[in-house]
Amino acid sequence: MHNYPRWPIHAALILVSLVMLVPFYWVFKTSITGENIFVYPPSLIPVDPQPFFYVDAWYAIPFPYFFMNSVIVAVMVIAANLVINAAAGFALTKEFAGKRWIVLLFLACMMIPFHATIVPAYLVTSHLGLLNTHLGLALPAFSHIICIFLFKASFDAIPPSLIQAAKIDGVPEWQIMFRILLPLARPAVAANVILSFIWSWNDFLWPLIIIRDVEMQTLPLGLSTFLAYFEDTTGSLYAFCVMVLAPGLLVFLLAQRQFIEGLTSGARKG
């Protein structure tokens, strides 16, 4: 094995990281300066930074309402995803007739974009009387097939002898899942929490379709309202963007190690 110097790799990684972080920096910089994005030449360093665009954004729209709606929907989605995806992933670790076809069906369903299922999803939600409700907002996101496979890969990596020992001790199947497998699959749980949170938090199209009252809107919908009414207030708009982005970034940063472990757990056994 050659002993190459590591600094070129680190330099390249730092460069790529900076490129990836530039949009975030630019959004934050604009939120404290209000500088128009079309200003030329653009300034890299914030000129006359001040926090008042956040105050404007806070009062321009009913932010607490939007925030609480997003939180309520995200909590419902996360809870449902953990239960449903873990149960489905646990089922897929077992051998049963037609398992291969079910896995194929799941994989095939992953290729159908959500936009293609909006009309039936709307009709089902309407028949259930859930239009313009938190439950209606959360319902289509109650399970994600990718997360089912994350759980399956994570459960597959747990030694079967552990499950057999539990069965010999008379532990029921649902307790095996919740009390033995899930505590051992914490990275998968973290990945599920983060993915379902981010997908729910950033969802724009579904709330746009089923929400009618302003007080039921979520944060991404609030962003569109902002764009429609206050087109020339760059600073406040970007401040609102930061306020929408911050919770997702916080959740990711808090659980990033488990998230990465969860995504890669299927790559190895044991």
Binding site: D56, S236, L254
Partner: protein
């Protein structure tokens, strides 16, 4: 103790502490009192100057209150219930001020203007 003192609970506890602290501060400083002084170009107080408090919305400027300065050139507004304000002042024979922007961190925040509003003879009232 590990299940209590981990980075998730500590982070959310810190956020909760900041939010509670900020709201306590707001409750104690939200009488909407805005105080200041009006002076002429020589720095002498201007009595009887007409001071107008405007609301600065995202797209417009609208007057919401007005008052006169006392013998020491002082003025006070109460319960303005806004977070972005613009002050203008003027007096016949002395002149008028430019627009003085007053940005607050929350609605009704109490504020004493650190700099007096100067009336300029080149700007007629």
């Amino acid at each position: 103790m590990g299940w209590i003192l981990n980075r998730v609970t500590v982070t959310f506890a810190l956020i909760a502490a900041v939010v509670i602290g900020w709201n306590l501060y707001v409750v104690r400083h939200d009488d909407g009192i805005l105080e200041g002084r009006v002076v002429d170009q020589a720095g002498a107080p201007v009595a009887g100057a007409h001071v107008v408090l405007n609301e600065q919305t995202l797209v417009s400027l609208a007057p919401i209150a007005e008052t006169k300065t006392d013998a020491q050139g002082r003025f006070t507004f109460e319960r303005h219930d806004r977070h972005a304000l613009v002050l203008t002042a003027g007096k016949d024979g002395v002149g008028a001020s430019g627009r003085i922007e007053v940005r607050l961190y929350f609605r009704n925040q109490n504020r004493v203007m650190s700099e007096p509003i100067a009336l300029g003879a080149d700007r007629p009232a």
